[in-house]
Amino acid sequence: MLKTLFDQRALKTPGLVLGVLLSAAAIPVERPEPTRSSDPQPPARDLVVHCGTLHVGDGRVLENHYLVVRDGRIERMFGAVSADQPNNRAVLSELPLVDASDKVVMPGLVAADTDLSGVRDDNYTITPDLVALDSFDFDRQFRTALEGGVTTVYLSPGRNRFVSGQGSVVKLAGDDIVERVLSEMNCLRVTFDERAHNAPPVFEPVISPTSDDPLEPARRQYPSSRISQLAELRRSFREALRDDGEEFIGTGSIETRYAAETLRRAARGDLPLRISAQQAKDIRRALLFADELGQSGALVIEDPVELSPVAGRIANAGAAAVLRMPIFLSASNGGGENRLDERKRPQPEAPGQAEAAGIQVALAPARNQDLQDLLMIAGLAVRHGMSEEGAIASVTSAAAELLGVSDRVGSLTPGHDADFLLLSGDPLAVGTMVEETWIGGRREFLRQTESDILAVRAGTILTGEGQAIRDGMVLISNGRIRGVGASMAAPYGARVIDLGPDAVLTPGFIDADSRLGLSGDGTAIPPGNPGQRIDEVVRHDDPVFHQALRGGVTTVLTSGQDTGLISGRIAAVKTGAPTADLAVLRGIVGQRFVFDSLDGNALKPIRDQIAAGKKYQEAWTKYLEELRAWESGEAEAEETAEEEKPAEEEKADDEEEEKPDPVTGTWECSIEDLPIPVDVKLVLALTLEGENVTGTLSIEIDAPVPPPPPQECSGTFKDGQLSLTITTPFGNGELTATIENDTLTGQVEGDGETQTITGRRTSNTTAAPKPVKKKRKKKEDDSDKPKAPDINQGLEPMRALLDGRATAVIRCAKAPAIGHVVELFRSESIRFVLHGAADALDTPEILGDDAPSLMVGPNLVYREDGRLVNDAARAADLTDSIALVTGDTAGSRFLPLHTAHAVRYGLDPTAALRSITVDPARMFGIDDAVGSIARGKHADLVVFDGNPFEPTSRVLMVLCNGQVALDNRQEAN
């Protein structure tokens, strides 16, 4: 019925504007290109689309089909099975192919109601001659709508006037304006409720008022109440029909002068009626009026909010409904429960109810902004009772039919316009997005995927905190975990790694005692030393790390070999860091001690160290306070402060410090009797400690050659005599010199030659071997800026301990020693961990109720006196927090196996997992970054193809800092 009406109309009255547009379209129009991809457009609008899934729009869903487009229209389609037929093969070889074989193709969406014409309500309330198309801007770019896949829209002529005018149907993109106009005078729109009462009075003054033609007050416009609406409408239509055939003269009120023709066409049924009626009573009157005109079958009811009471009547009358649904259904709720108000608010169930009643339904967004979510609006309708086919039709074929444009858009059957969408998945799925929008065989929108989100799915996720998530998913972006939970919809654009239902995902393991990274393959483990800068030694691409990674160990707390009472500092190192700057998690996380003396006085060196550390810490605290005060005082110091804040230590390296010792400082020496005619300067940066002198020697050459790198040197200073050994890759040299009042004279021997040098001390502090940088810094320094204390690497770990940034690890076994240690560190409030503590495992009483954290390993299970001893299980019984360790180099990779062994002999597997993940992370204060799967943590994950402690389980994948560091899925299969 609708269709015949439209066909008649098209024959009778080709729109005036359309005629103009036709003439305008003959002129080649050049316009700025809409956003398109970099690959060139096919010149002609001929192409073949290979569709993975094709929603034709007439209810058919086809798999693996080809869609042939010629001159912007669908020519035909054929299945991949018949691609070998000669005519199909010819088409495939001849036309450019759009590969959407992994995508879903569907017709471009038709939004059956929008305000894109930019119309505002007129002052006059009866304006049938307004045509929405007249104010439509063809040059505007409708990116939001195209992004949502909307290709065709109905333009409303305004919403709050009684007879608002005529709606139009246009496409949202394309160069050919004529082609873009699907229907110029689509319908006559009438408003049937209180909204139509708000028209202002109109003042129409006469130019020269006389008594015959007086100035009259502003004229009130009708209808001004619901009761007069129908009467006014009947009057207008009746008058329009009465004028039929007579020459119309320009008199009377403005709104009746040119309205007659349009009203006449509507009254005769040449122009469909579209009545906006929200409440049931208004909908009834709309049906009544259409029935009086004898065209209720062509009636479109716009926005029937209170649909359910009259759904049957609408269906019986054969009228169609356009439902305007918001994406935020609660947005219109002013708060509180108002049952009367409910009738005016869009109800999510309405589309389903309308469909059930048998009404032809089109869905439209409530606001222009919601156009990008039209597919989701259809999905929400399904959630509230509509069928999936009905929902898709309501934004494609049914909407097109309702607007009378189904001969061109709404489905992808042959002869229709090639308006189609390439979707990333099922049309109604939440994560599905329109990737490309094509109109008339041209691509008008291409989504640029910007998401860097990685979604890892696994059958089980063990968070490390004792929680297990079945069928879970971890979202990762920017190297960190963004979220963890049950596997639900992945956001659009996320890269999904699905590891299957058997996979078990755990946090990356932590070996809390390791030598990894310090000595290559472990043949020469260096002795531990508090002053060691482990962060400078470790190389992120060291192959040994990869071995640990293979075992699932992503973080190792590495330190030198235990040497004595005061042993090495501990650094936290990532084994799978994708870049060098991510390799060291923390430079200092702890300090190792070894104490097993029965005599408590033997702790004195440790006490001394703590005392020295306190002094050192005080100096720093004071300095930092002063610095803070100075910085806040210096208004303009922002820049300097910013530059120097992040790395206090480095800055301190460059700072100067008065220190009354005869050697420490920078010495500049000139070399006499040099056989080459260049000015060569030796720069010695020396530090005196007791009698030992360490430092670097660098050479500054006044010539355009790169200076050699600084060389290490060490030696002694005794009685004013300095003797240094310089170690270089090409051989060693000897420097002997006399130092007197900041001057130095002496000789350098090396390579069989001897040179005399003289020099003087230029500063009292060791300079970094980069004079340029230092000079710049010096200049920037203000004289009153507080001076940083000298960095004492030997005391840095102690300062970290005292600051609470690090943890003391004490290797001990004997009960008295344990007692002394616990007493000392408790009294000093230093966080500590006992490593070994064999007696405590044997006799738990000695630790009392408040047992400290324990570190166990490398031997976890062993046979003693004929019985099997499981230290790990015993430690787990003793305290809440244990760490299982290897104390090994390359052996770190076996940590999970050792743990599995302990589980075999009685260790609680949950505690076992904690003991190599979250517990050690907590012990060393690095749980903000590693140790568990939670939002904000580093994305260090290990995936097994089964229970992680089953000996048969394999590591499938390891992620480190959000990157796949290891992928064994192929091998595992």
Binding site: L16, R120, D121, N123, D129, S135, D137, D139
Partner: protein
């Protein structure tokens, strides 16, 4: 000269009837004296004004000597002299001999241009628009304020001819007039009245659709009223022929004064100056052209029209750029990215030979000719087109290109002498000559003296001269 005086004192519609022998005009008449009859004969049936004497006595002989003359017609002449007699250029060239009795204006080292012509301007009225939208019967003659600073500024900027017409916030806003920015009364200034009907498609208050509908209805109303009148006249004549009405009785009914100007517009007897704010409204202009093929329009185009430049070019109507259409920043509604567009360049590329209009505000760079031309040139429009858009092109649009807009023998002596490059900010108008009279000298510009003081003024002059 007495007859001249009589001529100017007579109402213009009567003056047409004075035989030219009685007028005893010299062969080269000044624009002022010749223009009025030209317009009244061609376009005006009811000119309201008698045109008074100018306040300064005309110089009989004037020579502008030694300048670099941009004729805008025959290229540039170095060190040329323009001889002006009775308001008209009688000789121009490097070999021109200056008679002993001529007053000499020294233009040595300076640039000589025809004074600028504004084809569209809404200044000097103390308000650009009537509040009511559809007022075709108004004319700016009733609003013009000769003492407005706008005209003083115009002289300072070298403007010699202005088409004053109501502003853009209207539907059909009334009729314009052509003036020179010099004179103590409106009659002094007037060159022609009722020179065009201002129309606008800019939505003021309502929506674009309402404005379009209002315009359509206004045009249709007038067309229908005209048809109705014609029908009545026909009836009258039929009755007269049948003897029902006496032979000597004339058909007296006239069009409503509200409709009359619009009816003239529809008959092509009056030009419409239509403001088109943006590309969507260009479609409506196309519609108007299709509905009323004889419509004679000049389009004042706003910056957003640049998207429809090709369609504007195809329409073939003369184009005047709104003063905001030189540079335009468009913000992408989605990305918030700003793009600077020079609509003038886009129009130029589309082959549109447009005229410029200056902003009539009292602040802002777009009221200066040099700024507008310089911006265009910076965006790649040729210097020639830039200069043309304020001289020959607007003169063409106003139908006066045989008298003003360029410098040649027989042209009205509207000449400006500039201290330097016309596109430079440091250039000043030194002297402005209108109809052979010196109407502005920078050395006598009191306002500039107050602004700069004597010394600074001299300094500025030196800078400008370089």
């Amino acid at each position: 000269m007495i007859s001249n005086r009589i001529a100017t004192l007579l109402p213009s519609n009567r003056r047409n009837r004075i035989p030219s022998t009685l007028m005893n005009r010299p062969s080269h008449t000044s624009l002022r004296r010749s223009l009025v009859p030209a317009f009244t004969a061609g376009l005006l049936t009811a000119g309201l004004f008698a045109f008074g004497q100018s306040s300064l006595a005309a110089q009989e002989l004037l020579a502008v000597r030694g300048g670099t003359v941009h004729t805008m017609k025959d290229g540039v002449m170095e060190n040329a002299t323009i001889l002006i007699e009775d308001g008209v250029i009688t000789a121009i060239g490097t070999e021109v001999e200056v008679p002993w009795n001529a007053t000499v204006v020294d233009a040595e080292g300076k640039i000589v241009l025809p004074s600028y012509v504004l084809a569209h301007s809404s200044g000097g009225m103390g308000g650009q628009n009537e509040r009511m939208a559809n007022v075709p019967f108004l004319t700016v003659e009733d609003a013009l304020d000769p003492s407005s600073q706008y005209f003083e500024d115009g002289r300072r900027n070298g403007i010699g001819t202005m088409h004053i017409i109501p502003g853009n916030r209207t539907l059909i806003g009334g009729q314009g007039m052509i003036v020179r920015p010099f004179g103590k009364t409106v009659e002094d200034m007037a060159l022609a009245t009722r020179t065009g009907l201002k129309m606008s498609l800019q939505a003021s208050g309502g929506s674009r659709l309402q404005q379009i509908r209002g315009m359509r209805n206004a045009l249709r109303d007038a067309a229908r009223a005209q048809d109705e009148l014609a029908r009545k006249r026909e009836l009258f004549e039929q009755e007269q022929a049948a003897g029902a009405i006496p032979e000597d009785q004339e058909f007296e009914e006239e069009l409503d004064e509200r409709q009359a100007p619009v009816a003239k517009l529809l008959n092509g007897e009056l030009r419409g100056f239509l403001y088109v704010p943006g590309a969507p409204e260009v479609a409506e202009v196309e519609q108007m052209k299709a509905d009323y093929p004889v419509l004679d329009l000049a389009l004042i185009v706003g910056p957003r029209c640049y998207k429809a430049a090709d369609r504007l070019a195809a329409l073939g109507f003369p184009v005047i750029l709104d003063s905001s259409a030189l540079e335009y920043t468009e913000t992408d509604p989605l990305t918030d990215e700003d793009t600077l567009i020079c609509p003038a360049k886009v129009f130029s590329d589309a082959g549109i030979d447009f005229a410029l209009s200056l902003s009539s505000g009292i602040t802002g760079a777009s009221r200066y000719p040099w700024w507008q031309m310089a911006v265009m040139v910076r965006h790649g429009v040729g210097r020639d087109q830039a200069l043309r858009s304020l001289t020959t092109r607007p003169a063409e649009i106003l139908g006066l290109d045989d008298r003003i807009g360029s410098l040649a023998e027989g042209m009205t002596a509207n000449v400006q002498i500039l201290t330097g490059d016309p596109l430079s900010a440091t250039t000043w108008v030194d002297t402005l000559v209108l109809d052979g009279e010196v109407v502005y000298r920078r050395s006598e510009d009191r306002r500039l003296k107050i602004l700069f003081g004597e010394n600074d003024d001299a300094e500025a002059s030196n800078e400008g001269g370089e």
